[in-house]
């Protein structure tokens, strides 16, 4: 669910060109738009481009926004397009994996069965742990990553994600499952290797 804003933004004021209301809209939504850019592009510079382009675009087209979706969903849709355009410009080649994004059977089978879920928070969210998590997210094909970022990072519902991306709910669910399993696999490989290191260090300490 998209968090309700402290005080509802007035679509009427926005469309009439009320600049104070525009500034309020920018402040309410700049954090999620910036995070989406950061997750999708992986660099603060690119995230800032996504942020600026999204709101430039939004303010230019406010008068055409009919309010059929929420302001949040509309902004997410613009942000997703801006992010994907920038990604295309950065790496124009087609990603083979992307073409299989909606194939429910493609690449689901887990191969890593180390249970690292009981590791303490301070280990999982250490600087190193966070870096591993960020790197794992960057390995997701972009159309899986987009769904994952909206649903699991930003907390949009399946329906909101589908509306923002112009997908069916079934597509969103398929992509979300694939994204989650892909990430889980990556992190499991990382923690499996890490625990091997720790065991070796322990042994060396003991001898």
């Amino acid at each position: 669910m998209i968090n309700p804003t402290p005080q509802e933004l007035s679509l009427e004021k926005l469309r009439a060109g009320d600049r104070a209301e525009m500034a309020r809209m920018v402040d309410v939504f700049s954090a999620p738009v910036y995070r989406l850019g950061l997750r999708m592009l992986g660099s603060p510079q690119d995230a800032e481009d996504v942020l600026q382009n999204t709101f430039m675009n939004a303010l230019t087209h406010l008068s055409e926004f009919e309010g059929r979706s929420s302001i949040a969903t509309w902004l997410y849709r613009i942000a997703a397009n801006e992010a994907l355009m920038l990604i295309r410009r950065r790496k124009p080649e087609v990603n083979i994996e992307d073409l299989q994004a909606d194939d429910p059977d493609a690449g689901l089978m887990p191969t890593q069965f180390v249970d690292w879920s009981g590791l303490p928070e301070n280990e999982l969210l250490s600087e190193e742990g966070k870096k591993a998590l960020d790197a794992a997210i960057q390995t997701l094909p972009e159309n899986l990553r987009m769904v994952f970022v909206m649903r699991d990072v930003e907390g949009l519902s399946i329906k909101e994600t589908a509306d923002a991306l112009g997908l069916t709910g079934t597509n969103v669910k398929t992509r979300l499952l694939r994204a989650r399993l892909h990430l889980r696999e990556r992190l499991s490989a990382y923690y499996a290797e890490r625990s091997q290191h720790l065991i070796r260090e322990d042994k060396n300490d003991g001898s």
Partner: protein, 88 residues
């Protein structure tokens, strides 16, 4: 027990997201839990997938917009006269 309700590793995997999100019927949940009780691998996959989602949602991963970025944004949008009052 109805045969089509029988859950194996593959069908569990296909329903994993919806199971985690609490979107499945109580009957299917019971079948899934029955399978989980007897299958170590599926239990590990469930636990680590849940943990993965927890981690990306943790407050430690919530990045705020840096002040200078916000400032440049407001300037680009010609809204810099509204730049001052935010947190105050």
């Amino acid at each position: 027990m109805m045969d089509h309700n029988h859950v194996n590793c593959e069908t569990l995997l296909g329903s994993l997201s919806e199971y985690i999100d609490g979107e499945l019927s109580p009957e299917l949940c019971r079948e899934i839990e029955k399978h989980l009780a007897g299958c170590d691998n599926c239990r590990v996959v469930l636990n680590t997938t849940r943990r993965t989602i927890d981690l990306v949602q943790s407050p430690a991963e919530a990045v705020p917009v840096p002040d200078e970025v916000r400032e440049r944004l407001f300037k680009r949008l010609n809204l810099d006269d509204y730049l001052k009052p935010k947190s105050q």
